[in-house]
């Protein structure tokens, strides 16, 4: 009765496929609709924050930093309230990470400031003596790719119905029209910084990577909620 399975490579392959696909079907598919619902009041990332998320991905911060606070007292004491599924609804991809060489960042916006991040990204040991994190000075001179971040916002709005405003729409023209809003947001961050080059770049209409990144890091935590939006 198992003869055909051992002799016929086609039936064998089908058999293997069924056995391995079973777990995926049961575990993953049915949960999809439920797990992608945002918690009440969660707002999508602004375009500048998305650009910052791109910097976070590009310099691969998840190699050392998690964004997942587990439900233990030691973790909630250290990082704040434990993470909820709905808080990640606008995270594509998820950035939980798998290793904490550095601390968790899921609510870092609640307890760190722009000024702290600026010092830290320039020279980590200046604010955390003994830190083994490398300095990311190149983020102060590299330009963040706000066009791609804008394209991401358009995509998630059109394809996945993320609630962005009507001013986020496809095409170069729409991007050019939207750009001043991004720059205004970047200027608010740069105003709280002291690095001369960064201020010059923002004044010249360019967004340094570090500004976008700090804007993203500041968004992690309370200011992700509509009501607490940083004005």
């Amino acid at each position: 009765m198992f003869h055909w399975l051992e002799k016929n490579p086609f039936f064998f392959a089908v058999g293997v496929f069924l056995v391995i696909a079973f777990a995926g079907l049961v575990e993953i598919l049915p949960n999809f609709a439920e797990a992608s619902r945002p918690v009440a009041g969660l707002r999508p990332y602004t375009v500048l924050e998305l650009a910052g998320k791109e910097v976070y991905k590009k310099d691969n911060c998840i190699a050392c930093h998690s964004q997942l606070i587990r439900p233990f007292k030691a973790e909630t004491d250290r990082y704040g309230q434990y993470s909820l599924s709905g808080e990640y609804a606008y995270d594509r991809p998820f950035l939980w990470g798998s290793k904490r060489t550095g601390p968790d960042l899921h609510r870092v916006g609640n307890y760190r400031t722009t000024d702290w991040h600026e010092n830290h990204m320039w020279e980590p040991t200046s604010v955390v003596p003994g830190s083994i994190m490398p300095a990311y000075k190149h983020q102060f001179t590299n330009t963040a790719d706000i066009a791609t971040a804008y394209a991401e916002a358009v995509t998630v709005k059109n394809v996945f119905h993320v609630p962005y405003g009507d001013d986020i729409k496809a095409g170069e023209k729409a991007f050019d029209a939207y750009k001043p809003k991004i720059l205004a947001e970047a200027k608010k961050v740069a105003d709280q910084m002291k690095n001369k080059d960064v201020k010059d770049m923002v004044a010249a209409g360019k967004v340094p990577e570090v500004v976008a990144l700090i804007s993203y890091l500041n968004s992690l935590g309370r200011s992700r909620y509509e009501a607490n939006k940083v004005k």
Partner: protein, 488 residues
Amino acid sequence: MQSNAALEYDYTIAKLYTYTAILFGFVGMLIGTLIAAQLAFPDLNYLLGEYGTFSRLRPLHTNVVIYGFTVSGIFATFYYSAQRVLKVSMAESKFIMFVGKLQFFLYLIAATAMVITELMGYTQSKEYAQMEWPLDLLIVVIWVLWGVAMFALIGIRREKALYISMWYFIACFLGVAMLYLFNNMAVPTYFTSGGVGSIMHSVSMYSGTNDALVQWWWGHNAVAFVFTVPIVGMIYYFLPKESGQSVYSYKLSLLSFWGLMFVYLWAGSHHLLWSTVPDWMQTMGSIFSVVLILPSWGSAINMLLTMKGEWNQLTENPLIKFMVLASTFYMLSTLEGPIQAIKSVNAIAHFTDWIPGHVHDGVLGWVAFMIMAALFHMAPRMFKREIYSKKLIEAQFWLQTTAVVLYFTSMWIAGITQGMMWRAVDEYGNLMYSFIDTVTVLHPYYAIRALAGVLFVTGFVMFAYNMIKTMTSSRELSEEPQFKSPMA
């Protein structure tokens, strides 16, 4: 074929992948050693400007050792052993030869592009699936070509029964295909936004918790179908062939195969314990991880028992040493994994250095040892020369074994120290340590790990030198050795 008498196995493709396995193995392990040293000595982060930080190099390390070294090793051993267990030569079909060559050519392009784009920072930031969508498409083509070559070879086989190694290679092909496709589903933003921004960028089809589930369904099973399944397939061919002993129990090998297939996929959610995925899935992942010990040990014990009554070969033949130690490390890491998947243990172990420690006793002790032994076994047959130096293999064996032991012991201690310090509280219930305390305390262990890396890479250089010498200047053989590989 005009003349059947001249019919020989054709190792063209196997040789090509052998070269890339050696090259990528060296590069990947060198980067690994560098980033290990960076954790102990942060000044090493500044060797290559923005391209040389730990964070940028870490995915490059994992991708080069997985998709460069391991996958090359899998293809090399496949194109070598599949012909032999099917008793059919690749030279018998021009079509299969063409597919094989095309596959290698595209593979080389994809691997080079992978290194360049990841250094530049194009990444999906999903672990072991960093490559952006154009590369993903290329990889799909490469994988399909492999499937075509595999099933075409099976189609013209003389040996009707499929040997157990072939079962594992087929499973590797199917499993990776399914998981890779689903995990890399993404929408390229350039096309949906009317041509704004970078063409390389894409957003995942899944968000948040769903993305995490799909990612670790993939991440865990990349370990299963790249680091376990094909490697088990390898050892089922190379250990019996090198020792001249047939598999201890063929029936056991069949049973462990089906057991492994069924159980492995369930265990993926053990990477997400205490996270926001539903509780029942976490429990399921935990339970199945423990069940997974059975089929894994089934294979490992079967391998060890194959040597029954022939243990003297362990002292005489260094390749047997490599393979026996590989099965032993396989047993160790398939026991360690389920232990870490128990929820209460995971609460301490997750996010710590114990996890890379666990991964490396698997990949260094099991995967790398097995691939190197297989390539050593293939060399005299492919190049018709004896292995250049037995002494060098012996030295390499001890050097690398020491390296693996140093690696996982230091990371065990580091991981548990870190996990305990994160949760330590004083008599009033306040946290005892600030985060940085838990980092600085790890310095000696990071230094030991870096040393282990240096030792392992040195061993790998010895391996590469031995292989190159075997290819070029070793004594020529008049006929193919039957079992034990000849070495000087």
